[in-house]
């Protein structure tokens, strides 16, 4: 009763199908044979309602993954295998490519270390090529600022920690490593333009970096001390709207940092908390604790009740603010506590929420906060999310 079938042999069975179809003409038509050897090709560019859920896979870090989900249907669309100590994928400016800084060892957890930026076709989720980079990628808790693209999509910036601090610059147009920029005392990458980004420093300053067209350092300048890194530190997990990066402090102060023609400017801070909120010990927290929706000028923050040492805890609510007025306009009661949130970029946005200690992705209406659907069995330890 069992047949060994090579895919090519399936075609040979077609005459039998046809004959059988004739024989049962009076009954419903026979279901046709399926082709063999086919794989899904995704729409390109992607839907704005898709989301990449990055997963460092804490208990088995050699098998890091990024998982693509359609927020409208709740269907998993595919995945990438992304190696050791994976942070997150970066999408090309036209969304047709995926750039993934990855680390491999020749024997899984030992042997020769090789760091690469793998370039994937976003429709086929298949590797197109890779660029070898210095084996210095920071091994950190995954966060968005681990790596990012300059605004024109030309240069991929990757934070290194060996424990010396630097940034690798990779030319994604010429597909070559362009150089390394030393950033002692300063961490991570926050793009501000086609040839500029900044890092955040231990002394409360920012380090502004200007690149040449070949990706080398044109010049750098350090701002004055703009925040208090000791008593109420800004988290390193801000979100960006236009020329402004919105940082939040442990206590819930928003510190906007704006790129101007004269360099970075710290705008007046404002608080997520009313006095009554502070009295109830509400506080922002999480791994990807903020999200922003540029079109409606909204900021989303995961909130929980806790003391100063709880700045990474998940929260049961997301509070939504109007960035123009700094007023809270909504409190979203979450279906499950969230440590990570992300919002789609379109006019009818979705709000995505997950938590590194769960394997569920909850999807909400980004405007009215209604829970729309949940996706289960998703990943192992989901970290940060990326929307097209």
């Amino acid at each position: 009763m069992r047949l060994k079938l090579a895919a090519a042999a399936a075609a040979l069975l077609l005459p039998a199908v046809t004959a059988a179809t004739r024989a049962v003409a009076a009954t419903p038509p026979l279901l046709p044979a399926d082709p063999a050897g086919t794989s899904v090709v995704l729409a390109s560019p992607p839907s704005p309602h898709w989301v990449w859920v990055n997963d460092v896979v804490f208990n088995h870090m050699p098998d890091g993954q990024a998982i693509l989900v359609d927020g409208d249907s709740g269907r998993m669309l595919g995945m990438l295998n992304t190696g050791n100590m994976f942070a997150r994928v970066v999408l090309s400016a036209d969304r047709k490519l995926i750039f993934s800084p990855e680390t491999y060892f020749s024997r899984g957890t030992r042997g020769t270390r090789t760091d690469v930026v793998t370039i994937y076709d976003a429709a086929k989720l298949a590797p197109l090529s890779e660029i070898v980079i210095p084996p210095k990628r920071a091994a950190i808790m995954p966060m968005m600022a681990a790596n990012d693209l300059t605004d024109d999509g030309r240069f991929l910036l990757i934070y290194n920690f060996t424990p010396s601090q630097s940034v690798s610059v990779v030319d994604m147009q010429q597909r070559r490593f362009a150089g390394e920029i030393e950033t002692s005392g300063c961490a991570l990458v926050y793009p501000t333009g086609p040839r500029s980004f900044f890092s955040i420093c231990a002394d409360g300053a920012f380090l502004e970096e200007q690149l040449t067209d070949s990706g080398t350092l044109a010049h750098s300048q350090r701002t004055a001390k703009l925040f208090d890194a000791v008593h109420d530190p800004l988290t390193e997990k801000p979100v960006r709207v236009g020329d402004t990066w919105y940082f939040v402090s442990f206590s819930g102060q928003i510190q906007p940092v704006t790129r101007t023609g004269q360099g970075l400017r710290a705008d007046p801070p404002w608080s997520l908390l009313q006095p009554v909120d502070a009295a109830q010990h509400w506080r922002p927290g999480g791994l990807q604790q903020l999200a922003a929706h540029a079109a409606s000028n909204r900021l989303y923050a995961i909130m929980h009740q806790g003391d100063l040492a709880t700045h990474k805890e998940p929260g049961p609510q997301v509070w939504v603010y109007d960035l123009a007025t700094h007023k809270r306009i909504q409190r979203i009661m979450l279906k499950n506590p969230a440590g990570s949130i992300q919002v789609s970029r379109d006019a009818q946005p979705l709000l995505f929420a997950t938590f590194i200690g769960s394997t569920t992705l909850d999807i909400y209406d980004g405007l009215d906060g209604r829970h729309l659907r949940s996706v289960t069995e998703l990943g192992t330890t989901p970290t940060v999310m990326v929307t097209p």
């Binding site: 090579a6 895919a7 049962v24």
Partner: protein, 171 residues
């Protein structure tokens, strides 16, 4: 108790399908029947007795009870970015595979179903489904679900999920 009920149910009903199957993850699914707690793995819904399977689920490709899955063993590609007959993006359908014969209640016909693995990425991890009877030991390879059939693919052994393709009506 539930386990014993299930076994009793199995013992007393006729084995209607003796179709073949494939899929490396088969014995994992089989072993999971009767496990008190399964922290990492979804329960193989194929372990449910037929009485619990409603008609709708037999027509849902993302359900373990989907009619074509009578002999499947692995993660369902329909939950992983593919479909019952197509691999998820970036994975390759294994050319060497095994077939079963399944009954479609919607047209009351039997079809030969080929369970092709999708290869080249690590396990999808969603919708583990194990509906296996007639499994043989490894020394009868083409009746054994303890092989990773991606071994026959260009992508080599990394296994992502399994499809269930209609090949032809059964005669």
């Amino acid at each position: 108790m539930k386990h014993m009920d299930l076994l009793t149910e199995r013992l007393t009903r006729a084995v209607a399908q003796r179709s073949s199957r494939r899929g490396f993850l088969g014995s994992l699914g089989a072993l999971m029947v009767g496990a008190a707690s399964l922290p990492l793995l979804p329960v193989a819904r194929g372990a449910q007795p037929p009485a619990e399977k409603d008609h709708a689920s037999t027509q849902d490709p993302a359900s373990c009870e989907y009619w074509r899955h009578c002999a499947i063993d692995g993660y369902l590609c329909s939950c992983c970015g593919g479909s019952q007959s197509t691999c998820p993006p970036g994975t390759e359908q294994s050319p060497v595979t095994w077939v079963g014969t399944c009954h479609n209640p919607a047209d009351n016909r039997d079809y030969v179903i080929s369970y092709n693995d999708c290869c080249g990425k690590s396990t999808c991890g969603r919708c583990l489904c194990n509906r296996n009877e007639g499994d043989s030991p490894l020394y009868v390879p083409f009746q054994s679900n303890d092989y990773d059939w991606c071994a026959g693919s260009h992508s080599d052994i990394p296994y992502n999920c399994s499809t269930a393709r209609i090949v032809a009506p059964a005669r």
